[in-house]
Symmetry: C2
Subunit: 229 residues, 2 copies
DNA sequence: GACAAGCAGATTGTCGACAATCTAACAAGA
DNA sequence: TCTTGTTAGATTGTCGACAATCTGCTTGTC
């Protein structure tokens, strides 16, 4: 028998497609935090009945990017500065853990994939496609979690990533300026290829803190704006 | 104005009640891993239409205790030994992190609540109510996560806990013998009241490993049984 | 007997309509 | 003026029915 692993075939339910559409809209910031999702309106726009739409919404509520209040509506989650702090501090812990687990598992395929994803980030950066830049950067960082061979960790990280992506997208949208062109991931990739695990863990922590400060400043701005209303 | 903070009122949707019912059935092991959930049958038993039932199922799928295959059905998640290992190793990391965050926040209310939950475990143990014993023990361990003041961590821990509770319940059910009567939480509580944070973290790790071995043995049994089919 | 095509039953996915609930505006009374 | 009760409109929650898909069996063919 030929050695040929087929990937899973496409999801054929409307629900799955709706989930993908909504998630993308939220994570790219097209739907703003706090905004209400009107079921009737959205179902008409998508040419779909409310049943699969509602099921899709339940999934995203559990995913943590929507919140639901019975008989009141479903809303895009609000972003508070504290949320970003919390997400980031947990992310640090998970990253350290992932590096520890993935470290002995590194092989040629790992390094190849690392380069591939790194290249994808650089390409998105050159193309000035900020949305894609965020996506690819998170995928680059996700590699260690995929390689850690711990399904629960991976799942946890993916949930966390949803929010981080959303935070970054909002940030980018707000400050509407060109993205830094220099390659901030160079040392990260180099360290993951190296022999010093502690150094890699340390850098993951510090590199994160870099973007973090900007993001926090943005979040604090949000807070202020919210308190005025 | 009187200082009186009302808690949130009860969920009034059928969906929420269905979620609670199903979750309880799964976490206590009444619904076994791999078992298929027939929508029509369940909706008739609950005297409810399929719409809220399906929405409830979507939530539990995202919660990680159900899995769904389009047009095939929704099933209670299968438990593999690897899953338990993964969950436990991540749990260790989260516990250490939680202790670190919660440590400076400890106050009288914390200690009181600690004693209260500890007492609940002892009571369930005396009553030989194994299900409740598992619940209360997890609630005892959850306190540090609640006190850590990190919403993302808390949420993550709660998701993880769902599965741990399920694993323990299955384990208990399988070996159908009286639960150890001695109090394994005594030192844990004492350490959380003490002054040595590192010691508390260390104990959390080791105490976990205790039950862990038993649980793993059970899981390996499951694996074997599954491979025979 | 082996195998593919096709059919029947069961189950999941989706739809449109109805019921329950909330919100906001307005009226009535203190 | 402030509070309380009422009502209309909009929106969410739920229902029963229909469509799409899967599974297992039967049938026919070689």
């Amino acid at each position: 028998m030929a050695k040929l692993d087929f990937g899973p075939i496409a999801d054929t339910t409307r629900r799955a497609e709706i989930v993908a559409l909504l998630r993308r809209a939220i994570l790219t910031g097209q739907l703003e935090p706090g905004q209400k999702l009107n079921e009737l309106r959205i179902s008409e726009q998508m040419r779909v009945s409310r049943a699969p739409l509602r099921e899709a919404m339940r999934e995203l509520v559990q995913e943590g990017i929507l919140t639901s209040i019975p008989y009141a509506g479903t809303f895009v989650v609000d972003v508070a500065a504290k949320d970003i702090i919390d997400a980031y501090s947990l992310n640090k812990v998970l990253d350290e853990f992932a590096i520890e687990l993935a470290w002995p598992q590194r092989d040629q395929r790992f390094f190849d994939e690392l380069d591939r994803r790194h290249e994808a980030v650089k390409q998105a950066t050159r193309a000035k496609d900020t949305t894609r830049q965020i996506e690819t950067a998170l995928q680059l960082h996700g590699l260690i979690h995929e390689w850690a061979d711990n399904s629960v960790l991976l799942e946890t990280w993916q949930r966390l990533t949803s929010r981080l992506q959303m935070y970054f997208a909002l940030h980018q949208r707000a400050r509407n300026e060109p993205v830094p062109a220099e390659d901030v991931h160079e040392t990260y990739v180099a360290l993951l290829k190296g022999a010093d695990m502690r150094a890699a863990q340390r850098h993951a922590r510090e590199h994160i803190d870099l973007d973090f400060e900007e993001l926090l400043a943005y979040a604090r701005g949000l807070e202020k704006r919210a308190s005025k209303n």
